[in-house]
Symmetry: D3
């Protein structure tokens, strides 16, 4: 079974056209954090094209609307020329990825616990779409604790805006103030 893997018999199936190195970075982005921004910037360096896609699930509740999230992603990536923003619904990520011609899924991993989950998804996605590879990055130390739900968990206590501001890009910070700030 493993024999088929033997490199010595390997023939590259086609010359790689670099414009084909297209990746998807998918998530809820509810909201976008500085951790996501790290991934997007690095993904834009690593791939020829990076599609940042909001996957929506009809049965799930979100804190920010789809429009708010799309808007935040667009504003935050406006200056990165090879990044585009998209959304998909009622489709498996691998099917969406293939439909836009992507050969890569980009994922961030922060902790050993994350890793177990990401390994599971990588194997499942590999079963569903053998030609699609998953590529992982580890965010820098100062972003290691950051997740959307972590940031949302900071809202409430006195002084929260100053704390939240550290972890999200400016357009998202404004969305937080608008949503959770003092009523005028």
């Amino acid at each position: 079974m493993l024999a088929a893997l033997s490199a010595c018999r390997y023939t590259p199936d086609m010359p790689r056209d670099s414009t084909r190195r297209r990746a998807v970075y998918a998530g809820s982005f509810d909201p976008v954090t500085e951790g996501h921004m790290f991934m997007i910037r690095e993904g834009a360096r690593l791939f020829d094209r990076l599609v940042v896609a909001i996957g929506t699930n009809p049965g799930k509740q979100y804190t920010f609307t789809l429009d708010e999230r799309l808007d935040a992603l667009r504003r935050c990536t406006a200056r990165i020329r090879n990044v585009s923003i998209d959304r998909f619904e009622s489709r498996f990520l691998v099917d969406y990825a293939r439909s836009i011609g992507a050969s890569y899924i980009l994922r961030g991993v922060r902790t050993a616990h994350d890793f177990e989950y990401e390994k599971t998804m990588r194997h499942i996605n590999g079963d569903m779409a053998p030609g699609l590879s998953t590529v992982f990055l580890i965010p820098p130390r100062e972003l290691a604790e950051l997740s959307s739900s972590f940031v949302k968990g900071l809202v409430g206590p006195k002084g929260w805006p100053k704390v939240v501001k550290q972890y999200v890009p400016a357009p998202v910070y404004r969305q937080f103030l608008k949503r959770f700030g003092p009523k005028r």
Copy 2:
């Protein structure tokens, strides 16, 4: 401190010339396994150029000679046009990577335990060379247990060649037989 990361102020420092996507995949390769071959094939797809480099450490004992390991890598990658084989000694990996113009370090991660170690090295390397990114891949399930020392640990018991053969490319298998096979 985190402000500098804000994506909205991000200006890509230069248009990416895709020929610059050069990566190093370094190790002892003592010996090359099918797990390494997975990484090399995937790395050759992901990057414009992949340099597979044997890092040698004067104070360390190896099972196979440097020449045997270089030879095995060359034979196993002969048909992958954008892979080259190299070696380095008495240098930090990040310094070697910069000296050959690489912007990426490629690493495989198999288990949560691996992950802790790889995260450490990613942070240290990021401190030493901020422009150099580390990119991770997870090998497929059937290679999840594979490491050079695992394979070497299989040598000895009756019937070992048949077992070892499953985990290494053919040129490495021949090296195993030559080194550990029955004396004539």
Copy 3:
């Protein structure tokens, strides 16, 4: 304190009557997956009798009804002569196990994270019922990602039935189609 464990003073408390090797494999089975089926087949080989028991919790919501789950288990184990299907409610697993004369609890462990939880339960159950041992199996690699909630999470995206079908036995697949399939 450990002295009492010393094997050299050990006297087996009774000759083992092999018909006494009775085990319980308990869960919600909401729904039964191929991962559960691996455990049941292996449990049927390992023990003289295996009771597969659905533990129900009045305060919890299930996707499939108790009858659907009992029916699926019965159909899927119909040909394994030493397996029987049962249910219990408002009882600790250890109390249920003792009430049916079982000396073993059978559990599957997939990941290091699972393991932490299973270790906790094994210790608690050992405190509550010292004569009852917990026995663990690790499913094969290709089932390592499988859980009931994982399978339910696959429902929805276009093409889900083909994906779900890989992970559940045929009677469960039919239940999925009936519950979530296109309305006629």
Copy 4:
């Protein structure tokens, strides 16, 4: 691929003759600890026959001689009627297990770190010998820290015999005193 697993089509390949439930519990036993004794006692309850086998590796250094280790195992299991002691060399565990008609490998798992290793070996052994299953037990809390190397690491500091005595059966304690005790 998973279809072949479907339980509904399952036909047990033969009536299980309970005398066939034979297991191997293998290790270096250098030395036997109370943790091993827990495994042996539980294994003797779970299986019809348990073979405790010392696997020796010609290239490895041991603290106690093979004869000392065999002697300790024999003394410590003398009263457990369905346990026998054996040794094997230059063979894979799975080959040894098959040669004595065992269908099970028995293993203890103490920590999440142990678990990663044991999962690896379970998969490899499953590849090499599909009919051989690995069964795991978790030792009780008070033995959770115990390993042969842990016990050997206790030798030296003033008062070590009293400490070592807690973790090993009496015959092994005497071997420790003889080997490391004050010279007369």
Copy 5:
């Protein structure tokens, strides 16, 4: 950057007045368990003053009322002279800690999974309040599985009061009986 840490240039910023060693042990205490009591007793030994504080979150549902929880803590710590009970709401723990003059946060860690979370919070809290240190204790083995939600999960099955009683102090046990016991 790390240079500033060099101990050789270190000058203690002030003589430590031991009455300043004040710590906060915060949680929901819904309900207090024997695991919490271990932490409180140890904290009272380690610090000059230990403030056990219930942090409440307006959006969260609790099983026991704030008054019940405060009452239980007061009864259970009545004889430990340097412990006081408090509550805080709508504030970050670090802000609360500073407002009462505490220099330490006390935390318990039971498992590797706990540890990942606690490390995250320690770093975040260290960012928000550099002068505040987090100190960790590991509970003894027999309390390793204990958490408030674990104890609440025991309620229901026949015989639950006897089981719950083992894990909570007497005043909490009475609260459980009152809340969940048979209606008269």
Copy 6:
């Protein structure tokens, strides 16, 4: 069994005299790193007296001599008034701790893997000396990768002194240059 822990019956066995809060921070310190210095500074704040003790093991090889290590610790802690430097040999840490009147062992934990080991030692030490508590600190993120063996592993490649310098206090850096620097 757990009853004895019940806090409500707790009577503090004696008024705590704060001068009794004495802790031991033990290790090989081969060599002292900035990670150790973090622990020492924090330990000096937390305890009334901190004894930093080099435990030596006759059978082990060290990179730096005992005198070099004692000298480095003395220089690096010269200005911290409540820290003293000591050594012990051929004794269990808990016996040494009791001999100098310490009630606490101080330990650093960096990763989940560290944690498993530290938990083991905490339980063993708690068994051997019930009155002795182990207190844990987590170093800041930028020291999370640091260990003595990590620093020694940096020696060799071109430019190593600049790298090593970041991780050790100045007196240790001078020892590194003396030991491994270019021969004149």
